[in-house]
């Protein structure tokens, strides 16, 4: 009986030895060098394959990193955490960049910026834009067919009920996929910490802008008087992130057409049609105005003191206002 077991064991061991010998030879013949850092990198990268780094997917980015072609801070969804982890693996110092988010620089949904023609064709923005420059009267505004939404891997773009693309800053990773999807190039990347933006891309003169959109920037320059950070190029205002200075919150009410976006509201004034909502909003404005006054008084008192160079938007004051808004 025991001989049966012994024979079986010997036979199987023999087969096993032959096979492993074969594999050992194969390992030598077909040896491929694999950088172990590649696998480590793949573990820490987000794995969304969004392409924000400029390489085909996370694996492509990892390969480029290993080859020394890519910088560790190129992964927008990963942010500071991932880039420092990459730095550790690759053994390099990482310079931190401010995280960015995308913003759709157009506030003119069809109720505010009318359509000039009925469009019945292929339902993508690029297709609509290619037909006679688009069906919207404003040839720079959001077409609202959601091409940016469909390429967003993070569900960060929502289409409003009135067909306007809006980026949710809380979900946006700044990968920039939507920038390429937009045929009109009205989506741009802005520093995440900033929350006042000009939502208009129409560089035309005031008369032409007014003809096609109620909330288009007319280049009236009122905002530039509020803050040095606002710059008007031709007939279109923008915020210059390089310029030092603060932006008073009240600026979004100075803007006559209402093209200045307050990210804390996630809304611009003309979108608010509900009377109760509008009242709440106005209450907030009062608060902001007071806040602004107090800040100015503080600045006066503090001038010449210890060189108080605090940024305009103090986090504490901000949350107080937010609470007020939330309860109302």
């Amino acid at each position: 009986m025991s001989s049966v077991i012994i024979i079986a064991v010997i036979v199987m061991s023999g087969v096993g030895v032959v096979m492993s010998a074969m594999l050992a030879v194969g390992r030598k013949v077909f040896a491929v060098e694999v950088d172990e850092r590649h696998e480590k990198l793949m573990e820490i990268l987000p794995g969304a394959n969004c392409g924000g780094c400029g390489y085909p997917g996370c694996s492509g980015y990892a390969a480029a990193l290993v080859e020394g072609k890519a910088v560790p801070s190129a992964c927008p969804p990963g942010g500071a955490e991932v880039s420092s982890a990459i730095g550790k693996i690759m053994g390099v110092e990482v310079s931190l960049q401010e995280p960015k988010v995308a913003i759709v620089a157009c506030a003119g949904d069809p109720t505010l910026a009318p359509e000039r023609a009925a469009y019945l064709g292929v339902s993508t923005c690029a297709a609509a834009h290619a037909v006679a420059g688009g069906f919207k009267a404003c040839t720079h505004g959001c077409l609202g067919l959601g091409s940016c939404q469909s390429v967003c891997k993070f569900d960060a773009i929502v289409m409003t009920a009135n067909k306007l693309a809006v980026v949710r800053a809380d979900k946006c990773t700044g990968c920039g996929a939507c920038l390429e999807a937009c045929p009109r190039a009205i989506i741009r990347l802005v520093p995440k910490s900033q929350d006042l933006h000009v939502l208009c891309c129409n560089p035309d003169k005031a008369k032409d802008v007014k003809a096609v959109c109620q909330v288009g920037c007319t280049g009236c320059k009122l905002c530039t008087k509020q803050s040095p950070r606002f710059v008007v190029d031709g007939f279109l205002a923008r915020v210059d992130w390089a310029v030092e200075g603060d932006i008073p919150r009240t600026v979004s009410f100075v803007c006559a057409p209402g093209a200045i976006f307050d990210a804390r509201q996630n809304k611009i004034l003309p979108w608010i049609t509900e009377p109760s909502e509008r009242r709440d909003f106005e209450k907030k404005v009062e608060l902001w105005k007071e806040e602004e006054k107090a800040r100015k008084a503080m600045a006066k008192a503090g001038a010449g003191g210890d060189g108080d160079q605090k940024p305009a938007r103090q986090p504490k004051a901000q949350s107080a206002v937010e609470n007020a808004g939330g309860q109302a």
Binding site: A118, L120, A126, A127, A130, V131, A132, G133
Partner: protein, 442 residues
């Protein structure tokens, strides 16, 4: 003579009766013309006059930028009011020269070669054509001098004049052949002389028997013949014409000159004759104004830059509600969002449709009936190409010959599900071209 044709194509209702018998009338120039700098395929012309300048009829107001571009001339005499972007038929504002008409119609000196153009050299003739700002008048508006300058090794042996006018509604070429057959023939002879082609053929659809008669009379004593063609759309497309008349196939990705042929529209031929013999640049053209929503349908000789509103007034206005305004024919023309746009060199017709004629129903799913495949004159599979483009599988659509599509619209016309096949294919083509540009940049 037997009417020739190609394989595929569609039979839309022609609707030409309303204007086919209407004699061409001169339209008085408007008080203000808007002359866009983008009236042709290729680089936009550069405006060479400034606001305040006095211009004469036929004076150059735009100069070509590069080889594939064209001269642009003033169509009235008067003062330049502005040089600024204005709405154009492409849908996007185009840089335009706005001229206030002084109603004097004082013309700039025109210098042609007269009847004895045969003594002029090829280059001289070509230069006259180029100076005249000539573009293809069938609708695509490709600069004519470029077409007349093929590489010498192509061995062009035939010039085909396209008098098929297969687009429904349009009758401008038809009227031109009836009223100015001599000019058409002269233009054809000049083109043949420039190209060194021995043979000239004028292809005319068999529904224009009077035009066939007039042209047959006019070509007597020349090496040009008239060829009746079957009544079918797109009989006037270059590659289909060559196939029907000569039985030659233009190779995939090639141009008619690769089949040793140059195709010109009959309107272009007449313009060549005008430019070479009289030195008259292209500043006016025949436009068919028709459609059930316009009160009086007419064939009009219209100055380039005349706003559509002016033409509507001259035709008694719009009856009832306007459903759609199309510049060009219903198959390949462009729908307009406003009637403030001006007529350009390539505008063969203005089509005013009433709301009942405009199908606004949304598209249904493809039922795989294959009618588009049968209709395609290029023997492609439109449904497959459209689908592949929609999902972005460009390498496959390229393998299926998407770049050979001539965008004639036969497939979209035939589709019972009203699918926007041509639009999808066009997008797919532009995606391939964009990818190629990106590739070549790298």
């Amino acid at each position: 003579m037997k009417a020739l044709t190609f394989r595929g194509g569609v039979h839309p209702r022609y609707n030409k009766d309303r204007t086919a018998g209407v004699k061409t009338a001169l339209l008085a120039p408007p008080n203000e013309v808007v002359i866009p700098m983008t009236q042709h395929i290729g680089a936009p012309a550069k405006p060479v006059v400034e606001a305040g300048a006095q211009v004469l009829v036929g004076q150059v107001v735009g100069e070509p930028v590069g080889f594939v571009s064209a001269f642009i001339h003033s169509s009235v005499s008067g003062k330049v009011k502005a040089v600024e972007p204005r709405p154009s038929m492409s849908g996007v504002p185009a840089m335009s020269v706005v001229i206030e008409n002084d109603s004097q119609d004082s013309a700039a000196p025109m210098k042609g070669r007269g009847e004895n153009w045969g003594k002029a050299s090829k280059d001289e003739l070509k230069e006259l054509v180029r100076r005249g700002g000539l573009v293809g008048m069938g609708g695509a508006a490709f600069p004519t001098h470029v077409k007349l300058s093929p590489p010498p090794d192509k061995g062009i042996d035939t010039v085909i004049l396209n008098g098929a006018e297969c687009e429904p509604f349009l009758t401008s070429d038809h009227r031109l052949m009836l009223e100015r057959p001599k000019a058409v023939v002269e233009g054809c002879r000049i083109a043949m002389a420039i190209l060194g082609a021995a043979q000239g053929v004028i292809g005319i659809e068999a529904n224009k028997l009077d035009a066939i008669g007039a042209m047959t009379e006019a070509v007597k004593g020349t090496s040009i013949r008239v060829q009746p063609l079957e009544i079918k759309y797109p009989q006037g497309a270059e590659k289909q014409l060559i196939d029907a008349i000569l039985g030659r196939e233009v190779p995939s990705g090639g141009l008619p000159m690769d089949a040793r042929v140059v195709v010109q529209n009959v309107g272009t031929a007449a313009a060549i004759a005008d430019a070479v013999i009289d030195g008259k640049p292209l500043y006016e053209r025949v436009v068919t104004v028709t459609g059930s929503a316009i009160k009086e349908a007419k064939n009009l000789i219209v100055r380039v830059g005349t706003p559509v509103t002016h033409i509507v007034e001259a035709c008694g206005g719009v009856s009832g509600e306007l459903g759609k305004l199309i510049c060009g024919g219903p198959m390949m023309g462009n729908a307009q969002h406003t009637d403030l746009v001006p007529v350009t060199k390539g505008t063969s017709g203005l089509l005013f449709l009433c709301p009942a004629e405009v199908d606004t129903r949304p598209a249904d799913p493809c039922i795989r009936c294959g009618r588009c495949v049968r209709a395609c004159p290029m023997r492609l599979m439109p449904t497959e190409l459209a689908k592949l483009s929609a999902v972005g599988r460009t390498s496959e659509s390229e393998a299926f010959g998407i770049l050979d599509c001539i965008e004639c619209g036969s497939c979209s016309y035939e589709c019972p599900s009203r699918l926007p096949l041509v639009q999808e294919i066009r997008l797919g083509k532009s995606a391939i071209h964009a990818a190629r540009r990106k590739q070549s940049k790298k």
